[in-house]
């Protein structure tokens, strides 16, 4: 088994929490993992990305090659497009559909949607709205993770266990909110 994942978004959107949960689930499966993170200047409202590689065999490179990613998980639709050259033909994009506009020259949103729709395997969800509507306003990123479950090739209950372990130190209410978010995402992936 080998899954190469690009996690992306805008600094501060919580992509590293998604990475932490996937990492925890993969560790429990005894998979090899490499996770290249983004620290420093790029976190200040700029584009951020993390390369997460899971494999049953030892992993050499910390970075994913062009055309090598199985999944792009993005907290922002234009940011998903930024890493398109890394996506395999049969790869999946799991993305938030709501733009985060903090630049004056953000492209036309309809054009962004249309370009995304032209890719073979795309799940685009308004995760922020879903999170608000379902009373889990701080768990939009975990909804996105739930929606990526099949594409990641990880069993649902393994992800659920990982969410439980990762959030347990924040109390039962936070755990339950994130379990609910994970289920919402799973149901939305169709």
């Amino acid at each position: 088994m080998k899954t190469d994942i690009i996690l992306c978004g805008v600094g501060g959107q919580g992509i590293l929490s998604i990475a932490t949960v996937i990492g925890e689930a993969a560790m429990n499966e005894n998979l090899y993992i490499k996770q290249a993170e983004v620290h420093g200047m790029s976190q200040r409202g700029g584009d951020v990305q993390s390369n997460l590689r899971l494999s049953s065999e030892p992993i050499a490179s910390d970075l994913i090659a062009l055309g090598g990613a199985d999944v792009i998980i993005s907290m922002e639709p234009m940011e998903a497009l930024r890493y398109l050259p890394y996506l395999k033909r049969e790869g999946w994009i799991i993305t938030s559909s709501a733009p985060f506009v903090n630049i004056p020259n953000y492209p036309d949103m309809e054009a962004v949607r249309a370009e995304l729709a032209g890719i073979e395997h795309v799940v685009a969800l308004d995760i922020e709205q879903m999170a608000k509507d379902n009373g889990v306003p701080r768990s939009a990123n975990i909804i996105l993770l739930g929606a990526a479950q099949k594409a990641l090739g990880l069993e649902y209950h393994k992800l659920e266990q990982a969410v439980r372990r990762i959030f347990s130190r924040k109390g039962e209410a936070v755990v339950e909110a994130n379990i609910k978010a994970l289920a919402l995402g799973r149901a939305a992936q169709g």
Binding site: H39, G40, A60, G67, I119
Partner: protein
């Protein structure tokens, strides 16, 4: 043996604790910051009382670590690559004095300049100082080789340079760690006069350093971290240094003889053997072509050496699985090209950040002085160079805002304004301010004080609560040390004070002071948590 999921930086930190560390000395700098932070948060480090408080700059860090080594205990110094420039005097001379307790210097290089102003290669410093250099390929080696670095340092009585790059420092993987930590060294201060680098003694000590070079070469040639791997029927030789090895392995090369190098000096015996067995050698190293040049010298003009200097790999920027594969003539099939609907999203100052108000005020005032130039410095506020502010004219190295403003003022430029952060000011701005005071230079210095070292994640700032006293102590006149609170509602006051001080033909310091919005949020969360627990 236990498995932990660690950043390269964290693996180094834990490796150092387990090697019997007594103190880490560092100034924050991406991508090295997490080493010290890990030690600060580690329970064994606390239990053992391992020193881990941040230093004012890399030079004070290096010297304090050297002092700890003099006293017989093990010390670690960590910095980003440009920090090596700041501490170079102490580093190079530490090779002449030699060391007592193990002294390991970690330089975290940043090829591709993800968060830096250049991509200088710290291995040059290691060679310059003639000390051993270790360059781990992965997180496990980062952990293991930190222990090796301390052992080598104590065996050779020399500082050892441990060089990593961003992609190792900031990437996580499983690391098998020891169950137990070695005891710290006992106090045993050096004896004799070897540490007094008067010319007569320094000459002797330099001879001693030269005398250690053959032993260093033997250690490299016999190191388990410099090893050969053969694939197929080798025709091409590859020298893969540090994480370059990972990218070579990633593209599964055929018919090559691969020499992995993680310990320097470059093992000459293995390089010669490789050259004899192959028709040509390709050097895959992250950073500058340090080894490539060395191999060319070693093998002579007629031997074919490929790498960054021949264009087989890009001359600038970090290695990637893509450019290494391309060097072997491989090309990964790409399903998709660059997207059409894409805009750059550069980093920016946080909403609500005090630096924003400082630049708003500066732009308003500077607009009234056509000749005005604002000299910037290193920190979050460097982002004042980008839209919407586009305020600063320069950003070169820590502290240069003040001294460049001074030099420009000496040349006749008016008004010359410097913008520097609180932590950068104590790092390297104070001495420049003293120069300006002694010269009565007509400059206006803005110390934008957010009470933290913000860009690297909110570490303590050495001068917090001391800035007025420091400026007065350096001789800035009391009526020209002004403090304001950078908020939109105070804009009239701030711009008035700016104008008054710009008009003053001498040194003025204005200190806009308001806590960093990120650390403020963190402190509020911590307070809420405490209140919840109470």
């Amino acid at each position: 043996m236990e498995k932990q999921f660690l950043l390269g930086d964290e693996a180094i930190a834990l490796g150092a604790i387990h090697a019997g560390l007594s103190g880490v000395y560092a100034y924050p700098g991406t991508p090295s910051t997490e080493i010290t932070e890990y030690i600060q948060a580690n329970s064994l480090a606390r239990e053992r009382g391992i020193h881990s408080r941040w230093c004012t700059n890399e030079k004070t860090a290096m010297e304090a670590a050297l002092g700890m080594s003099y006293a017989g205990r093990r010390a670690l110094v960590c910095m980003k690559h440009v920090g090596m420039n700041v501490c170079a005097d102490a580093f190079v001379n530490a090779a002449i004095t030699g060391t007592g307790g193990g002294l390991v210097v970690v330089a975290a290089d940043d090829p591709s300049m993800h968060s830096s102003q250049n991509e200088q290669d710290s291995r040059f410093y290691g060679r310059f100082a003639m000390v051993p250099i270790l360059e781990p390929s992965n997180q496990q080696e980062a952990y293991d080789m930190t222990r090796l670095a301390f052992d080598l340092s104590e065996q050779l009585a020399l500082p050892v340079l441990l060089r990593v790059v961003t992609r190792l420092a900031h990437s996580r993987a499983s690391v098998v760690v020891a169950d137990e930590a070695r005891a710290v060294n006992s106090l045993s201060p050096a004896e004799g006069k070897n540490w007094v680098l008067l010319p007569a003694i320094a000459r002797r000590q330099y001879e001693a350093l030269i005398g250690k070079q053959p032993q260093m070469m033997t250690l490299s040639e016999e190191s388990a971290y410099n090893r050969s791997e053969s694939y197929g029927r080798p025709r091409l030789g590859i020298i893969a240094c540090g994480i370059g090895y990972n990218y070579v392995r990633e593209c599964r090369p055929e018919d090559v003889l691969l020499l992995k190098v993680s310990q320097y000096p470059l093992p000459e015996k293995q390089v010669r053997q490789l050259a004899e067995a192959c028709d040509a050698i390709m050097v895959v190293e992250d950073g500058q072509p340090v080894v490539e040049q060395e191999v060319k010298v070693l093998l002579g003009r007629d031997y074919k050496v490929l790498g960054r200097l021949t264009g087989h790999l890009p001359r600038t920027g970090e290695l990637t699985p893509d450019n290494v594969a391309a060097a072997f003539g491989r090309r990964q099939e790409q399903a998709y090209g660059t997207a059409k609907n894409l805009a750059a999203r550069p980093p920016q100052l946080c909403p609500g950040c005090g630096h924003r108000d400082v630049y708003t005020a500066l732009n308003q005032v500077a607009a009234q002085y056509p000749g005005a130039r604002i000299f910037g410095d290193i920190g979050c506020y460097t982002l004042g160079a980008l839209p919407p502010f586009q305020s600063i004219a320069s950003c070169v190295d820590m502290g240069a805002s003040i001294t460049m403003a001074k030099g420009a003022a000496d040349a006749g430029l008016r008004p010359a304004i410097a913008v520097i952060g609180d932590s950068t000011f104590t790092h390297s701005g104070m001495t420049g301010l003293l120069d300006a005071v002694n010269d009565r230079s007509p400059i206006t210095v803005i110390i934008s004080d957010n009470l933290t070292t913000a860009m690297t994640g909110g570490q303590d700032s050495a001068g917090t609560n001391k800035f007025e006293a420091i400026c007065l102590g350096l001789g800035v006149e009391p009526e020209h040390v002004r403090v304001v609170v950078p908020l939109p509602k105070n804009m009239e006051e701030i711009t008035r004070i700016l104008r008054e001080e710009i008009e003053y033909e001498g040194v003025s310091v204005i200190i806009p002071r308001r806590e960093c919005i990120q650390t403020l949020r963190r402190h509020l969360r911590e307070k809420q948590k405490e209140a919840g627990n109470a």
